[in-house]
Amino acid sequence: MALDCGKTIDEISEYLDSGRSPYDPEIETCPDCLNALDALERAGRLSRDLIAADAAQLPEPSESWFDGVMTAVRAELRAGRSIPLSHPDPRVSMSVTEGAVQALIRASGDAIDGVFIGHSRIVGDVEVPEAPIAVDITASVAWGESLPAAAGAVRQAVSEALAQHTELNITAVDVTVEDLHRPFPSKDTA
């Protein structure tokens, strides 16, 4: 199946698949090729639109369907490593799970206006008291907020929360702003 200019649909669709790179001047300056590229791109997009239109037509799944998924999900939640907490009585052993500490990290970072915490990772031998521990965090910041200020605020909030609630020897809190998002009304409630 060839276009008027001689190129085949195959060549055009392979070019589209490769992300239109490396740039092919023959294709990119030929009106027939450009039309075909355009038609192919549009057809792909329309296929996704067709399914989206279907989505609006189908009945919603029931709440019990959603519950079914989330029950199974929570049943498989990994608590992670056990982080020891000290106690004056040597017969008592207390610990907090890594999962709980990550929830703490997320909550303290989320509390900063305009910030969502994404990924959080606790690096180091948490099961050994006093072992140096580093925390890696990614975040998304609302448009219009200063990125360095937001990253700094997260770093401070997380450091304080960890100091208050754990005995971990935190040597570094690394915050990477990986994403930006549209600002929404303030999260503060009356």
Partner: protein, 190 residues
């Protein structure tokens, strides 16, 4: 220690996909719940086109999200979670088809339209979507399936070959012919 007992609860509905996926990979079940609610309808519509009945769709989509939860750590680009979910749904749907009795050969695409839950191609209001729907209807089953897996499911050629149990060259051929047919039929549109 319950991190969620004080302060405002984070409104995850407002968070971008990438944040939700990254948090879910770090063990945040609430974030996964938000992803589930955000993308269930589109995944469901796509699976419905493949398997053809709502009850099978409910099962397949539930399995797909559970698989996604278990494999979250393998997701390299959290921002691409939606395409990743569609890919997993494709695999679950085809695994389901392979388990179905051999005599049940009616294509999901045809079943879905016949059941009356989705409009017939001729009844689609949007003219461009209608043109695409008619073009898809006119394709032979194998070409249509390859097309959907590629354009909606985001599968690579190799992945399509695996799912449909076809040689790679056959998949290329099917996609090439599907693209040519669709491009010609859609060529009236600007």
């Amino acid at each position: 220690m319950r991190a969620d007992e004080s302060g405002p609860v984070t409104d995850l509905q407002a968070a971008p996909d990438g944040i939700l996926a990254a948090r879910a990979a770090s063990g945040d079940a609430e974030a996964f719940d938000a992803l589930l609610r955000r993308h269930t309808r589109i995944v469901r519509a796509y699976v419905y086109r493949i398997v053809g009945t709502l009850s099978e769709t409910d099962d397949v989509v539930q399995d797909a999200f559970l698989t996604a939860w278990r494999q979250l750590s393998t997701l390299r680009d959290p921002g691409a979670v939606k395409a990743w979910l569609m890919k997993i749904a494709s695999r679950e749907a085809y695994a389901h088809l392979r388990r179905r009795p051999a005599h049940d050969t009616l294509d999901g695409f045809d079943r879905a339209a016949e059941a009356g839950l989705l409009p017939e191609a001729a009844a689609i209001r949007n003219a461009q979507l209608q043109a695409l729907s008619l073009a898809l209807d006119a394709l032979p089953e194998a070409q249509r399936r390859c097309w959907l897996l590629r354009e909606v499911g985001s599968l690579s050629y190799t992945e399509i070959a695996e799912e449909m149990n076809l040689p790679l060259s056959t998949v290329r051929g099917n996609l090439s012919r599907a693209r040519a047919s669709i491009t010609i039929q859609m060529a009236g549109w600007r």
